[in-house]
């Protein structure tokens, strides 16, 4: 039996929640556990028997995907990986329908459809076995989540014995079920007939409906499929996590490293035996070209990217260090993402707050803030400074201590909204701590900042009180 796979990669107008990281690399290509997010999809697909062709559908420029496709061709020689570009955002099913002839060429029987923004163990072969046992058109990969988080996802109600889906609702307001869709589907190719019906249904609904080629899998297709008893769910007990915001790359990274430890432990960095290497705690991936001082302590759940330089006495935990970043001696990086080419000075502390559920924001003094600290590309952080729970955008030099009181945060976000597009405002109001790129800086200002950076230890002398010191 032949089958193909589609990965829905979206496009540049999406991924605003993934800022500041998506400003430099499209979200699907952001490295997690040493590889782009969708590389993990390809790896899982390469293990499915009879799967020879993978199509990425999205609306990025072709050039954005070119490099990744070259690498994929080399790493997964048995699969043909291509990119199909939508002329505009067509919705999760619209792209599939638009490229139906391309997809159906060679007469495949089954089709995997994977959303790009998930981290998962991808039990695709198990899904396929399950699919072949029932008579439905579609199998959804489902997982159970905590009741309070369920309404952030597509919720499913299934018959307990046959796993036939009785009811599907996307992001319901009230509680429907704690079984949710993982955004990973297996279709019989006959589903294109259903898509055609859904498309027609949409156009015949009258003048109130937009007349366009948009079609959404979740709302427009799964409802009717469930009605006609053609939708089934395969429930996985293994890991699954949505990669929505940039901060969620940190837990996703941890999950993939955990998976490496079970399936291919050779990828992980070994604990040093004779004190030759750094102290490794738990699961750690260090790229072969990274230089890590033997007197550092790394892990658990850390990925260090190509050409990164980690100094003596550095501590890194629950973090992603991207290409070419430099962490100088005695610094401490906790629960953070350090962007490409960033520099973190000596005795600096960059810290986010660990979260336990699917959320990546936390409430601090009644204000919702990011839980993961993210330093964007080419960011210079001053020596011995301290940054907490703060996404910082590209090329911003942190000169003053970045930790601010709530009032100051509010001011910052006002500046933000003034200079950004409307999509940005929503993002910012959710995370008022965001600092925006200082691209308007003049050359002179930049020079001054760099001079200032040489004055080591500048910040500690200006320790600021948020409140008056306590009285005992």
């Amino acid at each position: 039996m032949t089958c193909k796979a589609i990965i829905l990669v979206g496009g540049p107008s999406r991924g605003t929640r993934f800022r500041p990281l998506s400003l430099n690399v499209p979200k699907p290509l952001f490295p997690v556990a040493g590889h782009p997010i969708i590389w993990h999809h390809l790896e899982a697909l390469s293990k499915v028997e009879g799967l020879k062709e993978v199509m990425l559908i999205g609306f990025f420029e072709d050039s954005v995907m070119a490099r990744f496709l070259d690498d994929a061709a080399r790493e997964f020689p048995k699969m043909n990986v291509r990119y199909l570009r939508e002329y505009q955002a067509l919705g999760t099913a619209g792209g599939l329908y638009h490229f139906r002839d391309e997809i159906l060429r060679g007469d495949p029987q089954q089709l995997f459809v994977l959303n790009a923004d998930v981290a998962c163990s991808f039990p695709l072969s198990d899904m396929m076995r399950f699919h072949n046992r029932h008579r439905g058109l579609c199998t959804i990969l489902g997982t159970k989540v905590a009741r309070e988080n369920a309404n952030k996802f597509g919720c499913l109600v299934a018959k307990p014995d046959s796993h036939e889906v009785l009811h599907y609702v996307e992001k319901p307001e009230s509680f429907i079920s704690d079984l949710i869709s993982c955004g990973i589907y297996l279709f019989d190719c006959a589903v294109f007939n259903e898509m055609k019906k859904a498309m027609l249904n949409k156009t015949t609904q009258g003048p109130y409906q937009d007349q366009d080629d948009k079609l959404r899998l979740e709302q427009d297709l799964f409802g009717p499929l469930a009605e006609s008893k053609k939708l089934y769910v395969y429930v996985t007990q293994e890991f699954w996590r949505q990669i929505k915001t940039a901060g969620s790359a940190v837990p996703a990274n941890a999950l993939y490293l955990e998976q490496y430890s079970k399936t291919c432990p050779d990828r992980l960095t070994k604990k040093s035996i004779d004190g030759q290497g750094p102290e490794i705690v738990g699961h750690v991936y260090i790229h072969p070209t990274a230089i890590v001082d033997p007197h550092s302590k790394i892990g658990p759940n850390v990925t260090i990217g190509p050409r990164a330089v980690i100094g003596k006495g550095v501590r890194i935990k629950d973090s992603i260090i991207l290409d070419n970043a430099e962490i100088k001696n005695n610094s401490c990086i906790l629960h953070s993402i350090i962007g490409w080419d960033s520099k973190v000075g000596t005795w600096a502390r960059v810290e986010g707050t660990p979260t336990t559920n699917y959320s990546t924001t936390i409430t601090q003094n009644g204000v919702k803030v990011q839980s993961v600290t993210i330093l964007g590309k080419k960011l210079g952080s001053i020596f011995t400074s301290e940054i907490r729970n703060l996404p910082v955008k590209v090329e911003k030099w942190i000169v003053e201590k970045a930790k601010q009181s709530v009032a100051e945060k509010a001011t910052t976000s006002e500046i933000t909204t003034a200079s950004q597009s409307s999509t940005e405002i929503t993002t910012t109001s959710q995370s008022p701590t965001e600092i925006i790129t200082t691209s308007h800086q003049t050359r002179k200002e930049r020079k001054m900042l760099k001079e200032k950076l040489k004055e080591d230890d500048l910040t500690l002398q200006h320790v600021r009180y948020n409140k008056s010191p306590p009285v005992l």
Partner: protein, 348 residues
Amino acid sequence: MKALILVGGFGTRLRPLTLTLPKPLVEFCNKPMIQHQIEGLVKAGVTDIVLAVNYRPEIMEQILKKYEEQYNITITFSVETEPLGTAGPLALAREILGKGRSPFFVLNSDIICEYPFDHLRDFHAAHGKEGTIVVTKVEEPSKYGVIVNHSGTTCIERFVEKPAEFVSNKINAGIYIFNPEILERIELKPTSIEKEIFPLMAHDKHLHAFELDGYWMDVGQPKDFLTGTCMYLANLAKKKPQLLVNPECEFVYGGNVLVDPTAKIGKDCRIGPNVTIGPNVVVGDGVRLQRCVILEGARIKDFAWTRLEGVSVLGDDVSVNDEIYVNGGCVLPHKCIANNITEPQIIM
């Protein structure tokens, strides 16, 4: 000569340090507060010292006995059964202070400066009046009560509480010298020397002001304790740099670092400016210290990535786990800190 040190109560402003150690014994720049004062007094020829206290901890008696021998002086406790304010204790110690005709010093125990007792004594003798107040100049006099002299003299004319308009920048530094006659002005009851005694003495033109040179600080609370430490170290760097660690030393950064000879410092540290490290302290490898006081026997681990800032005070026997961040945390004795403290607060 004689002196009275106003120690007072439990040093509540300096908690949690004073929960396990009486305030006069808390080490300021590696020496108990009271020892700084005793040494200053001894240098000016004082042989009898009275400590005005509200309570009388045993440990203090033992240590002061040691000082009696070391400096060849007599130290007497004058214990108040009820708090007597700043003047009452003088009346309580009347028998000792009033003995003989020589003047006596009175000082608040929280004051750190260069204790110019011999100059003060000579100045007092020269004007021949009943009392002399040491005054220090401050930048923002409106926060304090200021002292106004009769113009062109050192004789005090009046006291102005929190002046709205500038009248003077001199404030009471909490150090005095009096003739025994002052005791006739004070009854044995709670009395404020600043508010109830001094204005009358000024009215009688019996009070003069002696201007203090150099630094001055009331180190009665942690924030000021640190500021006072910086001042003391800066003064030491000027007057007796041999007592500080050589600024050329590899771990010293920005100078003004005082380290007890029994303390151990690890490799690749960066210490300073403004740090004191007490006896038997162990500082591990890769540690950064700035503007802080490490008290006796404290241990700072190698590469622990703990960060303390914002006037954090750790009491006796507190431990902080690796990688913890503490901002303005005030931690009571024997606690273990396992979670970040991001906002100033007291950890009971």
